[in-house]
Symmetry: C2
Subunit: 134 residues, 2 copies
Amino acid sequence: MLLSLDMQSETPIYVQIRNQIIEGIASGKLLPGDTLPSVRQMASDLGINLHTVNKVYTLLKQEGFLAVHRKSGVVVNDYKEFKVSDSFLEKMESDLKPIVAEAICRGLTKEKFLEKCLNIYEEFQDYQQGGKKG
Amino acid sequence: MLLSLDMQSETPIYVQIRNQIIEGIASGKLLPGDTLPSVRQMASDLGINLHTVNKVYTLLKQEGFLAVHRKSGVVVNDYKEFKVSDSFLEKMESDLKPIVAEAICRGLTKEKFLEKCLNIYEEFQDYQQGGKKG
DNA sequence: TATCTGTTATATTATTAATATAACAGATAG
DNA sequence: CTATCTGTTATATTAATAATATAACAGATA
């Protein structure tokens, strides 16, 4: 699981890491049961502070994507068991709304917008089918 | 054009205002040529500082949604003239990516995700057809 | 025992968000 | 002309967040 950070981005690096881990799970690069490096190891690899990584792990635990076992360390949860919660749908809608609004303002047709959404969704699936590890 | 702020939200209020104005333009509540209140007036209405509103107007000018004429004040641009720029498509894709990834992780099917996107898009259009001012 | 793990505590620095006060120049109404 | 309203700029301060630094604790492990 390779992570790349953009230190110039306005997106906080702990959010960048969180998103890339979630994208890794969505694409199948990270499978249930897979372990992640220790907070100190990942911090060292990325050249950042231990607490920034710890913040990500704590956040992803709260969101249900990761679990920590004293024995096996930080482990990816079985996301197949997740329910589509109402609170997530509400959050997703409020996140999508300004993006859709701007797309409309900038002249993106409904068809082209939906095609873009479809492409992004299927890119994650493509990886899953292209081999569990490559 | 009514604006509502959530002072408890983690979304900065200048971003909340920006998004609501863009959503107003997308839905047709704000039409090209419509004027917005002065920075001092809107700040007073919302109970916030003049500079916070000025930050929004400056941002929306840079993004091309508003123009300022010494004479007529702050005016909504003719967004029909907008081109779908590559830079916007790239920004939209990078904004959508983590949302789609989380949707997949949480078990939202492709069909249900696209349906949600479609609904949001059409909600803006519904308002346009439902009367220019109501 | 020594080391690695997640976790917690405390403190500091940097950046951003929001506010406060003030001023300037162009436009405008009386 | 005067007074007022406009966007705009400057400067400063406060509050909150992001990121870092150093340290320690307890469980697991070799």
